[in-house]
Amino acid sequence: MNPTLNLWVIPILPLAGAAINGFFGRKSSRQAVTAVALVFSGAAFAMALWVAARFSSLSLPYQEFLAHWIRAGSFNADFAFYLDQLSLVMLLVVTGVGFLIHVYSIGYMWEDPGYYRFFTYLNLFMFFMLTLVLAGNYLQLFIGWEGVGLASYLLVGFWFTKDSAASAGKKAFIVNRIGDFGFLIALFLLIKHFGSLDFSRVFGAIAPIRPETAGAGLLTTIGLLLMVGAAGKSAQIPLYVWLPDAMEGPTPVSALIHAATMVTAGVYMVARSHVIFERAPMALTVVAIIGTLTAFFAATIGIAQTDIKKVLAYSTVSQLGYMFMACGVGAFSAGIFHLMTHAFFKGLLFLAAGSVIHAVGGEQDMRKMGGLRTKIPWTFWTMTAATLAISGIPGFAGFFSKDEILWQAYQTNWVYWLVGVVTAFITSFYMFRLWFLTFFGEYRGEAEAKHGDGGRSAHDAHGGHGHGGIHESPRVMVVPLVILAVLSVIGGYVGVPGALGGNDRFDKFLAPVFHGSAPANAQNANLGEKRAPEQATEGSEPKTGDSTELLFTGISVFAALLGFGLAWMFYHKDPELPDRIAVSFSGLYRVLVHKYYVDEFYAALFVKPLIDGSTRILWQGVDRKVIDAAVNDAGDGARHVSDEVRHMQSGNIRSYAGWVAAGAAVVIAFVIWKWVVTL
């Protein structure tokens, strides 16, 4: 039926690269390490393209069985791969953006002593992410899930000699783990009720079930637990706290893992599980609410941050919130569309930020930047493209994807749409704030004077290297920036909605995945209404909403331009204005700068009691008083007993004789008793 594509090769290639670099990298030359890393990740990308080329000739979903894994009674889990439109999109994004970031990292990490280690971990991450994306069952997805968490830990804590980096890595892993707990319970429920974790079997078993309208049924519970896992991995409320701290890692890591790929795993998982969510409306609503809230919440924090990477981190959390909002209102393909465009422009933003940081010798505080546009033009123009994209300026990729989400959100509930628009305004504001502070005005930093001085404010441990002055990054770093900038511009054109004259190709491409399994029950009004016309007329756009959609598009463009204007006023025309406002609204400002004190809240509520309990109860109580005491007392007891017994060796002959006589008497008595008894 289907020719074998040997999908398993795609994840194995970067694994091989990781193994080679891991075992032999330390003694190899930089060139060799580079070659290995590029060859294997490039090969994975090439093969992904090859799969894409043959895609139309496949009958979907394409499933490939690699090997038996678990056979436990009636439960089977195998190493199997699953390919449909959704996983193809993810595959291309992961391998493509991943490869570009590999190229960029050559330049960025060239002088780092841990060069080979970096590429080992990067390839390892690719392996796990590809396992996740191509998985054919939830268990394999979970392997990838955990694996990318591991890779994230290794890469965030890459400069592990720095305390803050090591702690950040730990925080990322632990918070992720909390989400994974929910995920695991969901998996257990799936096994219990459907006997399998295989995508086709589970979704096939769930398809005939009617949507649960009354409260928390089985599917709602599973959906909520899956969302817990997604919230951990994709940094949504309440488990987002690890992502800003994860900026301790090198900037390519932030670009790849914390913008383009790993954090999107949660969105992918929710989209993949849409069969479950479509039949659990309450869970879907929770997803939408969490997404919306997170989007707004993170955006408000972003406007007060001064570290360029932290702004981008909160921006990522916010944009992920948009994706979950989309999934939560049933517009899964819109969410995936935004995932794709976000990978382009957010990845570009991070890489460009890395280029900026590289240029100014390690400084990350935007207050010490400024006027860089003439000095690092390539970085400036590419970053401009990305900023325009993320703010939703028409013509750029982000405009189409964000707009699609807002439009679909309005169909469900205008509150989502309103919050989304306000957030879009705030997004535009803080992004252009970043843009103005970094590239315009007077240069406020010190890199011109002290540029030969190795890494003073090393957030990024990426200090000066003795070329004088601020300089553009090497070509190997600039080329990926340019490619991503091009994608940020044209990437949206695959999804131009009908209202604007396009033909919605992206949504139609993903339609067989999401629309082929809508629930039969027409009581589910929202989803049914949206789906039915599209299903019935197989791809022609709903005519009724055209003009309304245009109106709403106009509103979001207006919001974006308003943000731009406000940023221009605050940071270009009147640079003193922000400080004055900060003083007059000092309370609010402080709350925003301190990120709503969430970290402190968690520390007081969870971390401190845990550490205290651990110290007082487990360490001093159990470990010292029970376990150590038992061991020590055993030794002491033996010693005391032997101390007492020792007195028998008194050197006194008569006592020895006494013991002998007594013993002999006992033996005699025993013998006599035995003899008498038998007599």
Binding site: H647, G651, R654, A661
Partner: protein
């Protein structure tokens, strides 16, 4: 015709006196003599049983016991003399250097 048990009683009594003397007495030589007393009690037992079962080997064994007792007392007394030379005392309670 004396019942054998009388002989055995006598033998046992001598043996018990020997043990008690060994435990009670403080002079090394007296302790040695208690040992000889024990051996004698056992000898009587052997001869008595030999007489009852008409086995002459009992007498032979008594002979050997006496030989060994002689050898043992010779060596033992020599040791006592050596101990007396070093420790200047015949009190067994003071020969207690081998204590823990």
């Amino acid at each position: 015709m004396v019942p054998l048990s009388y002989y055995l009683l006598l033998s046992g009594f001598l043996f018990a006196c020997g043990v008690v003397g060994f435990l009670i007495k403080r002079n090394i030589i007296t302790i040695f003599m208690s040992i000889e007393l024990m051996l004698n009690g056992v000898n009587l037992s052997f001869v008595a049983f030999a007489a009852q079962w008409h086995v002459l080997a009992g007498h032979i064994f008594v002979f050997f016991v006496m030989v060994v007792a002689a050898a043992e007392s010779a060596v033992g007394l020599a040791i006592i003399i050596a101990v007396y030379r070093t420790r200047e005392t015949l009190n067994v309670d003071q020969v207690n250097l081998l204590k823990l």
